[in-house]
């Protein structure tokens, strides 16, 4: 009941030290006036009486807080009223602030939970989609060998986590680059991001033992991402092309070294690509020999299977090249440039993936 009265009087709570101090203490006022009038005022009293009381109290408070004026007759009462009012106001301040903090905390927690749920749902959706693709594509993952499936499934799970972590690190880079930070601190973050990429390469190495083809063809990626794939990942020379326009203040020496690096990358990429081509030719020959039925069939099948295994080496060497390129770039660039470069590359990755998801989700036009 009294609460209702308070609400009517104070529709918005404003905890300012204004002359409306008395407005917040209707309960106190009631009890005070109760005393004065011998308990004739009850909690159900009409609002206007309270407001009248407010007005009177207002005057008293203003009066009492203004030292230059003559104090009223009941100076003591005014003073104690004022003190009590102040105390109550401070207490309500604290209470309201505390409640506000709790509400904010609850809201943020809700957001966090929703975010996690969303990430989980996205991951499940990805996996379901890919499993749909795999079953349709009749690959070894059709459950012929339980190990193969679980290795790949584990990789997909880990990749989801890796991407989330990557997004967090991108945010860190973004924040850090906007604030003043020492090179020493920046180096810690840069090294951390590089280490995160190395984690990915390690994950991929483990997964390629389960299924090298899955890795090389980027089966866990969206088709748009696969379009840009080079032996299971980004092309190192392309990394340099993406990052370079985002960097400023490169010295001539740095420019020369970066272009040298790009040239070396292209040479290494060509060498690996031609190696893959040679593998294809060798395999084609093996298959022809098999078909001809000459010689011992089973031993030829074995040797052909062995050639297929070398795909795993290609995937590994490609990842190794990526790692070397990243490290070399971070050596050539200053800490700040390296951080910017890593952020630019991370964002490029994110956007590419987002585009891929969008394309995969959008309806196709049929002729």
């Amino acid at each position: 009941m009294q609460t209702a009265v308070i609400d009517m009087i104070t529709p918005t709570t404003q905890f300012t030290s204004s002359s409306t101090m008395g407005v917040y203490e209707p309960i106190h006022q009631i009890s005070m006036w109760d005393d004065t009038f011998g308990g004739t005022i009850s909690p159900n009293t009409d609002v206007c009486i309270i407001t009248q009381a407010d007005a009177k109290l207002d005057d008293k408070c203003e009066y009492a807080s203004d030292r230059s004026l003559e104090p009223a007759e009941d100076n003591q009462t005014a003073k104690s009223i004022r003190d009590k009012v102040v105390q109550r106001r401070l207490a309500q301040n604290r209470e309201a602030a505390r409640k506000s903090r709790l509400r904010k905390k609850a809201y943020v927690q809700q957001l966090e939970t929703s975010r996690l749920k969303l990430a989980q749902l996205e991951l499940e959706l990805e996996r379901a989609r890919h499993q749909g693709l795999l079953i349709g594509g009749a690959t070894a993952n059709m459950g012929l060998c339980g190990n193969v499936n679980s290795g790949i499934a584990a990789f997909e799970m880990e990749y989801g986590h890796w991407m989330e972590e990557q997004q967090r690190k991108n945010s860190d880079l973004r924040n850090v680059l906007q604030s003043p930070i020492t090179d020493v601190e920046l180096r810690l973050l840069v090294d951390d991001v590089l280490e995160h990429y190395c984690n990915l390469f390690r994950m991929k190495r483990d997964a390629s033992r389960a299924d090298a083809f899955y890795l090389v063809f980027g089966m866990w990626r969206t088709p748009v991402e696969q379009f840009f794939l080079w032996i299971g990942g980004f092309q190192p020379s392309e990394l340099i092309n993406v990052v370079m326009p985002q960097l400023e203040n490169l010295t001539d020496q740095q420019l020369a070294e970066v272009y040298n690096l790009r040239h070396s990358c292209q040479q290494a990429e060509d060498a690996l690509s031609q190696g893959m081509e040679k593998l294809r030719q060798t395999l084609a020959q093996s298959i022809t020999t098999l078909a001809a039925g000459a010689g011992s069939y089973s031993s030829q099948v074995v040797s052909t299977m062995e050639k297929l295994e070398s795909l795993e080496s290609f995937a590994q060497q490609a990842d190794h090249l990526r790692e070397q390129t990243l490290r070399r770039m971070s050596c050539i660039l200053t800490m700040r440039q390296a951080a910017k470069g890593l952020l630019a590359f991370g964002e490029y990755f994110q956007r590419l993936r987002a585009l891929g998801s969008l394309w995969a989700a959008s309806p196709r036009k049929f002729a």
Binding site: Q267, A268, G275, T282
Partner: protein, 126 residues
């Protein structure tokens, strides 16, 4: 001394005589030991060609693999444990010493360390 280099075509200088292994390693600036038909060896060759180097290729097959591995282990040295001494194919020897496999060649290629090493071993004249 290596055979005269021709930059327009690369005649493969391959040999399979096991007896010659130590001699080969000692007398040639760059020697690559690889299993026949290995695609990784092809990659190594291409990288080295890119630097103007025509390496001597030694074909390792089933018959000579054990012997070759033994010979190479001797060259590498017996100081370390046996397993780490066992060379992985393709194995690249520069200036008489084991440089490593494709991974090491690639790392040196990217970091820019490969050219000085090749130059020092007189595989390059420029």
């Amino acid at each position: 001394m290596q055979q005269a280099l021709s930059y327009t075509n690369w005649p493969p200088t391959t040999t399979s005589s096991v007896v010659e292994v130590p001699k080969l390693v000692a007398e040639n600036a760059v020697v690559v030991f690889a299993r026949s038909g290995c695609c990784m060896c092809h990659v190594v060759k291409l990288l080295l060609h890119g630097h103007g180097v025509n390496p001597t290729i030694f074909d390792v097959d089933e018959q000579n693999e054990a012997t070759v591995t033994g010979e190479l282990s001797k060259i590498i040295g017996t100081g370390e444990a046996n397993t780490s001494c066992m060379p992985q194919f393709p194995a690249v020897f520069v200036g008489g010493k084991l440089f490593g496999g494709l991974e090491e060649i690639m790392a040196a290629h990217i970091s820019g360390e490969l050219v000085p090493v090749l130059r020092k071993a007189r595989a390059l004249w420029l």
